[in-house]
């Protein structure tokens, strides 16, 4: 079905309910982490390494401490507990110890009355560096055992995940068509607009309260507390307003630093990064080099894929292991491939650390395998959509990991839908706005060619590879002012995706009440897991539903007690208990009689298994989601400038829970994919970032984002709550290769590297 405006205004599940935090957001009163204030607070700043690799020969903080208004200057020696932290490997020092491994690594902290004072003092910390040659060749780090190590004796390979399926020797003999390609993906930044920030407030119990913008409160808490030398319970986190996340807030940034300063000074400490510091303050999307060889029959059926994927994790592991797992397990795309030899590596280098970003390992692979599918199509003389349809997975298909897709996967039909979208009008030349370059007035039609490209992507939803993931929800039903009202409390991070809207929609629907409040997210309730992996509708949605069901059960029991009869099949509607025959038997207010019913539930998805370390076999994923893009572009082939004329997307979301918010996710994912295709890259040379600003790291403006068509399918996943399928990431995968395919179509250029730059098109 398509999204109908008719469902706007409603507030139940499936309606385009409006954001409960929307009024505060449109007036600017919504408090983001950078807006927090405490009367007696001091400001923290971070001294960072200018070098990507150096030995620290000494740190002298005496001059900095002497600056009037300075309250504390801290180095690694002042970290009272564990000196290292990390999401998967505790390999990252809270503050550098004896050496630095990337440009921008935190070395020391200052707290002062005023940010300007703190910065002045920071500039007076003397750090002696013995500068070393940075190790920046990811491929050598992966494959050359003689390459020097980034971390002492530890291997540079954070993870190597092979996939082995079938008989490659035989496959090579029978393949009639072979296409090869080498691809490169630049380092993309999440570039959320609200930089890292938070406020740490020392507590009377010796602990600390931290208000911070993050994606997962509890995993922050688990990493912070040991470094502070505190029991977990004494580090309490509350979610502050999050100005975008996209993966960049999975890792810690200023959290431990602010807490350390707060505990040392006894004062609330605020840390806010500026834009430049933000580029050094969080992990980025792994840049990748990918070599692919596809073998197929002459009629375009894939026989084998032989691939090598090298992901540059930079100085610290962050979530590199899981990114490698995704790149490997999803590395051949949503296609049936009988023979696979694939090796995915994630490595340490002295480049900026990389970790989570929307699409997480699947994005890099998708650019390569979709570029390859176009090559297969060309080699076989087939239409690019046709070759994809011939190889598309469906329900019951076996992936390269051996996992069978046990949910609807109508990929072939989705491809047909994408092909059936009407074509946008031909290139106009009357108005420069319609042309590449726009009002920069670079063409009046000269050199402009139209191109069309298609791509599909497959993304795992939820955490994979045996991770015991759960989300917790507490739901309370009581009467407020005579009306039944529900309070939903979780630790789940609203990062803009509309999770608070959805939580309220679920409670409203399950409990049949209008008035629902979503409490601020904090660690006062169990973990909700991360706002990552497109998992929160599934996991926290599932938890809120489970808690609501438990509350409902108790309320019906209370009704049964009150009425003195059993009410099999009863439900809650419109503030009433409704018997199976549809008749209201009591109002909630009567049944509750001033009491509150509160239940807490943990929701778990079905178990997954690890990938075999040698063959990559295993049922590693919870759920699969698919998106198909068609991109139409106009390219000035002489100047290499691209205008994306239209993006059209077909996505299966299992069930639409909020049409308006869902479309927003598809727009946003597509926009970020467009950025990676055409403009976004952190340029790193010899480990040094050359463009840490919004002047030279370009993200799409409203003029770069074309009008979008969407077609949304609802083929329910029987294993998921409400049949839903995570939706935020899949569009990020397929929009990039679709746009690049369209540019290739217009230009005939090979375009093996993203972002595609004008010189690749015009001088390539």
């Amino acid at each position: 079905m398509t999204v109908e405006a008719a469902r706007r205004g409603g507030e139940a599940l499936g309606d385009s309910a409006l954001r409960p935090d929307g009024v505060l957001k449109v007036t600017g009163e919504f408090a983001y982490s950078s807006d927090l204030w405490a009367d007696d607070m001091v400001w923290g700043v971070t001294l960072r390494s200018p070098h990507p690799r150096a030995r620290i020969t000494g740190i002298d903080v005496s001059e900095a401490l002497a600056v009037p208004g300075v309250h504390a200057v801290l180095t690694h020696e002042d970290v009272p507990g564990e000196k290292f932290y990390g999401l998967e490997h505790h390999d990252q020092p809270v503050l550098a110890i004896d050496q630095v491994r990337y440009q921008g690594e935190p070395v020391a902290l200052v707290a002062a009355d005023h940010p300007e004072t703190a910065r002045r003092a920071r500039d007076r910390i003397r750090v002696g560096y013995e500068v070393l040659e940075p190790l920046t060749d990811a491929r050598r780090a992966a494959l050359d055992p003689s390459y020097p190590k980034v971390h002492g004796d530890r291997s540079n390979v954070v993870r190597h995940q092979p996939i082995r399926v079938g008989d490659m020797a035989h496959a090579r003999r029978v393949a009639e068509v072979v296409v090869r390609g080498e691809y490169e993906v630049g380092m993309q930044d999440q570039a959320f607009l609200g930089p890292e920030s938070g406020l740490a407030v020392p507590a009377e119990d010796g602990g600390v309260d931290l208000f911070v913008a993050t994606q997962w409160l509890h995993v922050d808490q688990e990493q912070i507390a040991p470094c502070l030398g505190l029991p977990t319970g004494r580090v309490r986190l509350t979610l502050a307003g999050v100005g975008g996340a996209f993966g960049a807030r999975e890792d810690l940034s200023m959290q431990i630093h602010a807490c350390l300063l707060a505990l040392r000074t006894g004062r609330p400490v605020k840390i806010v990064y500026g834009r430049e510091e933000s580029f050094f303050g969080h992990v980025h999307r792994h840049p990748a080099r990918l070599r692919y060889e596809h073998g197929a029959t002459r009629d375009g059926r894939l026989v084998y894929v032989d691939a090598e994927i090298v992901l540059d994790g930079g100085a610290y592991a962050s979530s590199t292991s899981a990114v490698v797992g995704n790149a490997a397990s999803l590395g051949v795309g949503p296609y049936e491939v009988p023979n696979v030899r694939l090796d995915a590596y994630g490595v340490y280098t002295n480049n900026p650390p990389c970790g989570a970003m929307r699409g997480f390992g699947a994005v890099q692979a998708c650019f390569a395998y979709e570029s390859q599918m176009d090559k297969v199509a060309e080699a076989c003389g087939l239409d690019p959509v046709e070759v994809r349809i011939r190889n598309a997975v469906a329900e019951g298909s076996r992936l390269a990991t051996g996992q069978v897709i046990d949910m609807p996967a109508p990929l072939a039909a989705m491809l047909e839908d994408a092909r059936a979208f009407p074509a946008p009008p031909p290139t106009g030349t009357a108005d420069v706005r319609d042309l590449p370059g726009g009002v920069s007035n670079t063409t009046h039609g000269e050199g402009v060619r139209r191109g069309v490209g298609y791509a599909v992507g497959i993304k795992n939803i939820c955490y994979s590879e045996g991770f015991d993931d759960h989300s917790t929800a507490r739901v309370r039903l009581e009467t407020v002012g005579g009306e039944p009202a529900a309070l939903v409390h979780t630790a789940a991070a609203e990062v803009g995706q509309g999770l608070v809207t959805l939580q309220a929609q679920i409670a409203r629907t399950e409990l049949g009440v209008r008035q629902v409040t979503v409490a601020p997210a904090d660690t006062g309730v169990g973990s909700a897991g991360s706002s990552s992996a497109s998992r929160q509708s599934y996991m926290t949605g599932g938890a809120v539903r489970a808690a609501c069901e438990a509350v409902r059960e108790r309320v019906i029991e209370l009704a049964e007690e009150r009425l003195g009869r059993s009410l099999p099949g009863a439900s809650l509607h419109d503030g009433r208990v409704v018997a199976a025959d549809g008749l209201a038997v009591a109002s909630l207010a009567e049944v509750l009689a001033g009491r509150a019913v509160e239940e807490t539930r943990e929701f778990r998805h079905r178990r997954t298994t690890a990938l075999d370390p040698l063959t990559g076999q295993g049922d590693s994923h919870v759920q699969f989601a698919f998106c198909v893009h068609r991109a139409v572009v106009d390219v000035d082939v002489e100047l290499g400038l691209v205008k994306v004329v239209e993006l059209a997307a077909v996505q299966d979301v299992g069930r639409i829970l909020n049409p308006l918010a869902l479309e927003g996710q598809i727009h946003g994912g597509s926009a970020q994919g467009l950025g990676l295709a055409l403009m976004e890259e952190i340029q790193v040379r010899d480990g040094v970032v050359r463009n840490p600003s919004f002047t030279d790291y370009l993200i799409p403006t409203i003029l770069d984002m074309p009008p979008m068509r969407t077609r949304i399918l609802e083929n329910a996943d029987p294993h998921a709550p409400y049949g839903l399928r995570g939706a935020g990431e899949p569009p990020t995968l397929s929009s990039t290769p679709a746009i690049v395919a369209a540019v290739r179509d217009a230009t005939g250029r090979p375009l093996t590297r993203i972002p595609v730059r004008p010189e690749h098109i015009s001088c390539g």
Binding site: R8, S16, L18, R19, G22, V23, K25, V26, T27, G28, E29, F30, A31, Y32, S34, D35, Q190, A191, F192, L193, G194, P195, G241, V242, G243, G244, A245, F246, V272, G274, R275, E276, D431, V432, R433, V439, G496, Q497, G498, L660, A661, E663, G664, H667, G668, G669, S670, A671, Q672, S693, F694, T695, I699, P700, T701, I702, L703, M705, P707, M708
Partner: protein, 167 residues
């Protein structure tokens, strides 16, 4: 070095001492506690700190506080009349022209300022026919809103919101 200035912010006169290096954005956020304008890039490349400065949209990160002694500033917060949202704000809410919302106060101020510019007959970058009043189609909205980044990519809904707000 400090200077004393007066600003009329969202209808209220405020007096404050500022270092001469202070931007208008920092003066609003850190000195006056007016946090509706957001800091996103520190150099005029994102538009999150847009306010109406003496009636025109401007980025406050590139305005020096001391240079605006006596200025009239309207932020997104001041556009709403208590509980009553400005029509542009209501449109952003109803069309879901936001996700994380960080750029939203700047988008809203920019949109309101832009609609005033259109009313005053200002040509945009792209107005071809300089004689007639500009027609505010989607393309024109995009052109005129190109100074406000939205990383969540809510652009299609922002266009829809401004279309609604302009009515």
């Amino acid at each position: 070095m400090d200077a004393s200035i007066r600003l009329r912010v969202d209808g209220q006169w405020r007096t404050l001492d500022v270092d001469t290096r202070t931007t208008l954005l920092d003066a609003l956020r850190e000195r006056l506690g007016v946090t509706s304008p957001k800091k996103g890039c520190d150099h005029g490349q994102c538009g999150s700190c847009t306010v109406l400065l003496d009636g025109r949209r401007a980025v406050t990160c590139l305005a020096l506080a001391v240079a605006h002694d006596g200025a009239e500033i309207v932020t997104a917060e001041g556009l709403a009349d208590g509980e009553d949202l400005h029509p542009v704000q209501r449109a952003f809410l109803e069309q879901d022209g936001l996700q994380c919302g960080y750029c939203t106060p700047g988008q809203v101020c920019s949109a309101v300022g832009m609609l005033e510019e259109v009313k005053a007959g200002w040509p945009s970058q792209v107005t071809e026919d300089l004689a007639g009043p500009p027609e505010l189609d989607d393309e024109e909205i995009r052109e005129r809103m190109s100074g406000n980044l939205c990383r969540c990519g809510a652009y299609p809904n922002i266009v829809a919101a401004i279309r609604q707000g302009a009515r």
